[in-house]
């Protein structure tokens, strides 16, 4: 149906050439690809740190690196993965590429600010890399004072500046998305016709805009404390180290929703397409994203149950933490209901969606454990917490990201990835992931603390299992790196809509033209209207 001639057609990739046309682009699709390269780099860098950590933990005593180096490894793993990979990931790549197309716009509201966002991420990343190469930072990604302000002899300030700058990248992306969704929707694209991916990116953007400035000022205060000894966190001057924790977590808890909400949006898209049904309870799912964003700001103290904060503060935060679990549960139920009487395909993106739902459910349910005051006292700062958040961030977000990447790859590149290899790597990732992180729940309950270079002998079996899983997981992640690159040259040419999906982005050629649409679309159907799509296809053919 599609001939080679299509590849000669003008699209956003070939419309101009040369490095300047990429580094000075205003096209949201090109910026998305710039981001794709950047975050892929940071993902594998963070992954290298994870590999070294897991290798070190094969033995109870130190074997691979020194204690100081180990502290730097887990700190940099956290900093890179959170601030330079997970926070930008889906919004800056898939969101940047598809949000404007999904709403029928030519671009985001502020294309040059979009480009600036990318540069800010890169510059922030340079600061972090400088810190890493110059000697590292060893405070943990949470930077608790007084250790980070008065005791650590490592590159805290450089790292802090890197995160500060990357934070502005995040703020500007969020600002751009909010304004775009409010002001740039095509005629007929009402709020309740928006794809759920747009809703979840919108909710994410709200958090980015409101939360990130708080970590910015926290880092400023930390840097001032470290350089000028202003005393704001120093008990000797009357300052309070726990104030740092409140300020830090006020952002860093909502930050975890920045990291997972876009993934939830991707899953809504995948479940709908690959069951060929609208998501069950569209409005409820849409509102649940906003609910998560709002409620997410109210629960930061659940990271501080044993910090010395009052019992009553603990009660309030525990109660609200249970509240915020409910919208996520609702999504899982709605996705499951979507499958009922659907027409379910087992294409790779759907396999990732299935994997996501399972692992996100486990991660979310273990969240109920840590939200529980009586249990959290025991499991706080143990591997139980590590397992919980990796189930959500890796079992959840990264699987959603990969699912979305596979789903939208044909649109972005004009090529299909190799389906058999993709299915295999999805399976390898799923199995590797579970083997890596499930034993950590047990390790944590047994009492294995976080951030330990050595550990009691009796924990070794579980650590070895975890490291074995990590090596499988690593293979699983390398596979897409290879076959996606392979597909750019040798992949089957993709048509405009290989999946039979609704959504304006599938009404354009693959890859899309520079201006997205030949003329501004006018929207007349509801979201996920497969019947209308079928009728439209029929009309074209007949």
């Amino acid at each position: 149906m599609i001939t080679e001639a299509v590849q000669e057609r003008e699209n956003y990739l070939n419309t101009s050439h040369g490095i300047k046309s990429w580094l000075l682009t205003k096209d949201h699709k090109r910026i998305a690809l710039l981001y794709l390269h950047t975050i892929t780099f940071f993902f594998f860098l963070g992954g290298i740190f994870a590999t070294l950590i897991r290798l070190e933990l094969l033995t109870p005593k130190g074997s691979l690196v020194s204690a100081d180096t180990y502290s730097k490894l887990f700190t940099l793993h956290g900093v890179i993965m959170v601030f330079f990979f997970l926070i930008p990931s889906i919004p800056a790549t898939l969101g940047n590429f598809f949000l404007p197309m999904m709403i029928g716009a030519k671009d985001l509201a502020f294309p040059r600010i979009n480009l600036l966002s990318w540069y800010l991420l890169v510059i922030g990343g340079c600061f972090a890399m400088y810190a890493m190469l110059a000697g590292g930072v060893d405070t943990g990604w949470t930077f608790y004072v007084p250790y980070s302000s008065n005791y650590s002899n490592t590159y805290v300030i450089a790292t802090g500046l890197g995160i500060f700058i990357a934070g502005f990248s995040s703020i500007l992306t969020g600002l751009n998305f909010i304004v775009t969704v409010h002001r740039m929707r095509a005629p007929g694209m009402t709020w309740f016709r928006l794809p759920l991916f747009v809703w979840s990116n919108y909710a994410t953007a709200l958090i980015q805009v409101l939360g990130t400035p708080v970590i910015a000022i926290t880092l400023v205060l930390l840097i001032c404390e470290r350089t000028l000894h202003i005393g704001v966190f120093d008990p000797a001057r009357g300052g309070d180290p726990v104030l740092f924790q409140h300020l830090f977590w006020f952002y860093s808890h909502p930050a975890v929703y920045i990291m997972v909400l876009p993934g939830l949006g991707v899953i809504s898209e995948l479940v709908s397409v690959f069951a060929k049904k609208p998501v069950f309870g569209y409005k409820v799912v849409a509102f649940s994203s906003v609910a998560i964003a709002v409620l997410g700001f109210l629960v930061w103290g659940h990271h501080m149950f044993v910090s010395g904060q009052s019992v009553y503060a603990g009660l309030v935060f525990s109660f609200l933490s249970y509240f915020v679990a409910i919208p996520s549960a609702i999504k899982v139920f709605n996705w499951t209901a979507t499958l009922h009487k659907g027409s379910i395909s087992y294409a790779t993106p759907m396999l990732y969606a299935f994997g996501f739902i399972g692992l996100f459910t486990v991660g979310g349910l273990t969240g109920l454990f840590v939200a529980c005051l009586g249990v959290d006292v025991h499991v706080h700062d143990t591997y139980f917490v590590i397992a919980h958040f990796h189930y959500i961030m890796v079992g959840g977000t990264i699987m959603a990201y990969l699912g979305g990447l596979h789903y939208w790859w044909p649109k972005m590149s004009g090529r299909m990835y190799p389906e058999a290899w993709a299915k295999l790597s999805a399976l390898v990732i799923y199995l590797g992931f579970n083997l890596t992180f499930f034993p950590q729940f047990i390790l944590g309950y047994l009492g294995m603390p976080r951030r330990y270079w050595t550990y009691p002998d009796e924990f070794q079996v579980l650590h070895v299992m975890s490291t074995a899983g990590a090596s499988v997981l690593a293979v699983g992640y390398l596979m897409p790196l290879v076959y996606f690159m392979w597909s750019l040259r040798y992949g089957r040419i993709a048509g405009p809509n290989p999946w039979g999906a609704t959504g304006l982005e599938w009404q354009t050629p693959s890859p899309p033209p520079a201006h997205n649409f030949e003329e501004t679309p006018v929207v007349t159907t509801e979201a996920y209207d497969y019947a209308a799509l079928a009728a439209m296809e029929e009309a074209k053919v007949g």
Binding site: G358, A371, L373, H378
Partner: protein
């Protein structure tokens, strides 16, 4: 139950079974929902697999009843978790009146433990079985955390104030002690053992090598620093308040507020005396910050406490087991 499962640490404190039972409940709910969702999805994925590219499923009408059901029921379950967890947490946070106090100082990278009777330990804590113990802890430098997995409890240890953790050991044995708040290079090495002993063995251990109780050391310090020059112990009026029989009472302050005469207040008065001045006295007490170590402060506190007979002290229930913010209000 639970004490011999390799998945759970030994239950060695009075609260450990409660925590484990709560976990069994959470596990049951978690397994129920995970398995339920897993099998439902698996079933749907097989039953409704795509058989032809042209099939077009009928969209389901979203059902508000269903949405409400699967919001309210999970919410109800989480509320049970919350209430149950909060109740266990109250117990964890409130040392009983008869808990014996032991002081702990955390520093990079060791635990210094100070028994009331004068015994000192490093990275080890010997305690008798069946006796509730309350640790009053502070840090000399960064934030640490005192964690005993077998007791299912922990608390952060902060510089500049006291925090508390309590437990009642129920089983003799040797249990891991871990620092569980990252504190620098040797965080992983800031570990030790809690030895829970039969009462007679504990007595035997105690009587070997005590160097004088905390209170008697405190009395020596009181004399060394000539505190009695202002704080006459004889009842005669002096430049400073009379200290006997004050411990545990509410004291009126010059600025109109009042404060409980407890360990926090005594510590603050030694290190930052101007923070709270008792009504009727001038702010002339010099600070001893830098002249006394944290251990000295503990010794002085115990001595001043000893000036109020135990019967005269108000019940300890009002003493916050979770640390009050040590305020240095003026």
């Amino acid at each position: 139950m639970g004490s011999d499962l390799p998945l759970f640490p030994v239950q060695a404190s009075s609260i450990a079974p409660s925590v484990d039972h709560l976990v069994y409940f959470l596990l049951t709910v978690a397994v129920f929902f995970s398995v339920g969702i897993f099998f439902t999805i698996f079933y749907f994925a097989v039953r409704y697999r795509r058989r032809s590219e042209s099939e077009l499923p009928v969209p389901s009408e979203g059902a508000m009843t269903l949405e409400i059901l699967w919001s309210v029921i999970p919410f109800g379950l989480t509320m049970i978790m919350f209430v149950w967890g909060a109740s266990v947490f109250f117990t964890i946070s409130r040392p009983p009146d008869d808990a014996q106090q032991i002081y702990v100082i955390g520093k990079q990278w060791m635990w210094k433990i100070q028994h009331m009777e004068g015994q000192r330990e490093i990275n080890e804590l010997h305690i008798p079985v069946g006796q509730a113990v309350k640790l009053r802890m502070t840090s000399e430098d960064v934030i640490h955390d005192f964690f005993v997995p077998a007791f299912r409890t922990k608390a952060d240890v902060l510089p500049g104030r006291y925090t508390t953790v309590w437990f009642k050991p129920t089983r003799p044995g040797k249990y891991h002690l871990f620092c569980s708040q990252y504190c620098g290079t040797n965080h992983y090495a800031m570990i030790g053992w809690v030895y829970v002993m039969a009462p007679q063995d504990y007595q035997a251990w105690l009587s070997g090598g005590a160097t004088g109780s905390l209170a008697s050391s405190g009395e020596k310090l009181f004399q060394t620093f000539a505190c009695a020059n202002c704080h006459h112990l004889s009842g005669a009026p002096g430049r400073g308040p009379d200290l006997p029989n004050l411990y545990g009472t509410q004291v009126e302050l010059a600025d109109g507020g009042n404060v409980k005469f407890d360990e926090d207040y005594i510590r603050e008065s030694i290190l930052n005396p101007a923070a709270k001045i008792v009504k009727g006295y001038q702010p002339i007490m010099p600070t001893f910050q830098g002249l006394v170590t944290e251990e000295n402060v503990l010794q002085l506190i115990e001595y001043i406490k000893s000036l109020t007979p135990k019967e005269a002290r108000p019940p300890a229930g009002a003493a916050a087991a979770t640390s009050k913010r040590k305020s240095t209000k003026q």
